[in-house]
Amino acid sequence: MDESGATQELLTRCKMQDRAAFAELFREYHARLFRTAFLMTQSAEAADDITQLVFVELFSVFRRYDLARPFLPWLYRIVHNVGVDYLKRARRGADMPLPAGEGARDALLGPDPAPGPAEQAERREAQRAMWDALGRLPVAQRTALILRYYEGLNEAEMAAVLGCRKGTVKSRLHRALRALGDELRQQAWHGGSVADDLLGNPTIAVRPQEGGE
């Protein structure tokens, strides 16, 4: 996460409240932050709101930014804080699942795939199951998974973003993965077939027919 010389210069100008430099910074990071916010909220509208709030906040706090410290963890920390606040305000926070967002999901992935290669269809269905399961996790666990598996941050960087220790990050990731597995198994319980494949063909006991004992 080391910044190049050009980025350092850009950050220096931003620190001096140079609006042209800030617009440049916006162009460079906006799409990335928007996507992260989208993964956090599973809503394009919320992601747009959060990204706007993040950049307005960023501009006002840039004076306090220490140029000797890496920029991205600091930026992601702002994204995380603003995102969590946003979700709390929207009463869709920590322990409440996000709306399923069926329409949005279909808009993104398209309607059920037309008959095609079976593997492709299965993969799409598996991703959809994973997306649903992710949406049902508490926001803290979901954020940890996104930072690790989408942003590719290591534990130390995640600790800087989340404002906790490395050990806490590790345990949070572990709990998040376990919760994700539980969610996928819940889907399997309720009749999903994808999770069965994903989780290694769980044992299926077929109840005997009624009266057939």
Partner: protein, 212 residues
């Protein structure tokens, strides 16, 4: 017919497969979403309409804390501060003494010894009007009721107490002729003699008083 699926406990061996699918899912969904094109223009509008950035609050807080500490030090260390603290101490002590006197029923004007005072010796009955005695070596106290008289020779340390007065403890060192009427005097003993180096052996104060 209904299927009854028995779910096994999470298997650690599933983790790599699940992590792989998670990474793939996040990348797919993130790739498929496009940020709004007018985001930059809206952000600039927000910045233009936003209030100017506030001055650094941490700096203001630091100054406030430093000012408060300086004020406390000034109060504690300056003469004004000491006087104030002393006044507060006296006021607090008066309150405590008053409360204690109220609780113990000591409302007859008896002397409340100052802190650290040691009261010793033989007390004279409250009906006594005249007391005579000698207090030597060490400490003792002679007490006479109001308008009474204490007469005697004092050698050593004497602590005189007047029951109806507010006479403070008086200390005499050496051979001292004491004559006075402590009931009406703030200081019951008149000290005139220089202090000798030797003292008469102890002889507890003998007071005589008529029956009540």
């Amino acid at each position: 017919m209904a299927d009854d699926r028995r779910i096994p406990p999470p298997d650690p061996a599933d983790a790599p497969q699940m992590e792989s699918l998670l990474t793939e899912t996040l990348a797919t969904y993130a790739h498929d979403i496009e940020p709004p094109a007018d985001a930059l223009a809206r952000m600039q509008t927000h910045l233009a309409t936003a209030k100017p950035a506030r001055q650094s609050r941490p700096g203001a807080i630091r100054w406030a804390i430093a000012g408060a500490v300086a004020l406390v030090l000034l109060l504690l260390l300056s003469p004004i501060g000491r006087a104030t603290a002393s006044g507060i101490g006296h006021a607090a002590r008066n309150v405590i003494v008053t409360m204690r006197d109220t609780v113990t029923g000591n409302s007859g004007g008896e002397l409340t010894p100052a802190r650290g005072t040691r009261v010793t010796g033989t007390s004279v009955p409250s009906s006594a009007t005249t007391g005579t005695g000698t207090a030597t070596a060490g400490s003792g106290s002679a007490t006479a009721r109001a308008s009474g008289t204490v007469t005697g020779t004092i050698t050593g340390t004497v602590v005189g107490t007047s029951r109806s007065g507010k006479a403070p403890a008086t200390t005499a060192t050496g051979a001292t002729a004491a004559t006075g009427t402590p009931a009406s005097m703030p200081a019951p003993l008149l000290l005139t003699a220089p202090a000798p180096t030797t003292a008469t052996p102890a002889n507890p104060m003998a007071g005589t008083s008529p029956p009540p």
